[in-house]
Amino acid sequence: MKNEQILENKLIELIRLAETDLPKDVEASLRNALQREKSELGKMNLEIILENVRIAREHKIPMCQDTGILNFFIKYGHCEINYDKINKIIIESVRKATKEIPLRPCVVNPFSRLNTNNNTGVGVPNCDVEITAENYVEITVFPKGAGSENMNNLCMLKPANGIAGVKKFVLNTVINSGGYPCPPIKIGIGIGGTSDIAMKLSKKALLRQCEKKHKDEKIASLEKELQEMMDSTGIGSMGLGGTVTTLGVNVEYADCHTASLPVGISIQCWADRRAAMRLYDDGDIEYLSHRGFSHD
């Protein structure tokens, strides 16, 4: 089979996997959260969440009715398929997935609010492409609901505010979000770059597994400190109070202008849905987010 057909066949299944089955690291974080939680209401919410995850996986149905905007992160290595063809396959797969899984049509025109009814539209789905020298194309499907996305934030801090300013900005953002983004939340933080890069990095930070800390020890310790700070707010699961507010805090950075300190924050709900696969140039498929998963 040609790689193009393989991609056509597998991409809709990758979307289904993302929408119906949480990656193992996320489910493990939720179980860990249940053990850490002391409040009765918090425990009840976490038990319901885990039960919901089980039902969605068993029946292959979306775990949340907000099936979200579908974001795609692509690492484009050596490949016999032109990128414009990959883009077309992605759009077609989103339309097909909307009908077949089914997904909720979430995409509307911002002026008329008319629904496109197929989850595609102007600028949607958004594809982030990185060119690599590898012998595969890697595609990550990252559905993002509006409850968490609406809580994202950007601040152009002054360099004098320093990392203390970053901590305060994250704390204020998380406290203002309260229960709206369906905690326990995962927090992606982009520090540096320019305004758009800080936001992009914050979203990419969410793609990293919860328990995997940054390879730079100083940043890893900032991630740990931020997570402890957010948990000690007492917001708790669903904002109803408790000892666990976060599943993880991931930071990514880029160098920036000497006069700038941009900070972007992307908040993700407990349903930290993503699925990633690689299509090698010989037609082999490898799943990265759901170990042991195979359709064959």
């Binding site: 009765e40 209401l41 009840m44 919410n45 319901i48 969440i49 039960e51 919901n52 039902i55 969605a56 029946h59 149905i61 979306p62 775990m63 949340c64 009715q65 907000d66 099936t67 089914p102 997904l103 909720r104 049509p105 979430c106 509307v108 609010r113 008319l114 629904n115 009814n117 609901g145 509006a146 409850g147 609406n150 203390a164 901590k167 305060k168 704390l171 406290i175 309260g178 229960g179 709206y180 369906c182 400190e225 700070m229 000690s232 707010t233 007492g234 917001i235 708790g236 669903m238 904002g239 109803l240 109070g241 709900c269 407990w270 349903a271």
Partner: protein
Amino acid sequence: MTRNYLSTPISEKDILNLKVGDIVFISGLLITSRDQAHLRALEYARQKKEVPIDYGNSVLFHCGPVVKKTDNDWIVIAAGPTTSDRMEEIEHEFIRRFNIRMIIGKGGMGEKTTKSLEKNKAIYCSYTGGAGALAAKAIERVVKVEWLDLGIPEAVWTFEVKNFGPCIVSIDSNGNNLYSEVSAKVKENYERIIKSNVG
């Protein structure tokens, strides 16, 4: 945590003794409405135009479901709550005009809604956000759908449900708001965190 089983239509008496933190399971009719349906229903009501939806005898559910159309019916695939706060600015008028007795949503609502619930003897309950697959299991059928031109998520769906829950009473009819209580504690914690981590 006391468990309470209620059926629609829910009376004033049914909810008067419910307190924040109590658990409720609902049987009967849930009617979904979110941003666009709120706006349209209020616009119709202000113009004295008929609203083809019986909110008063049902439970208002902040929700936009995943549904599938078969030859004759709609099947609900996932139907958890949406963020209620988006309706905060208009919910008080909605409660008054449509005799709302109970709302199910997530994330809580603000002072205007809390006051209106107290005045109209009504409550707000929270269903676990994101638990759409579980919620759909308690939905027995779609009774009807109105205003489908608003799109599937924004349309007004009437669901017949059996033991839909657990729903946590988070704003009761005496003006108690569980979210405000948590928020007050979070404020205290904020000062402490700033002192120890930010300086």
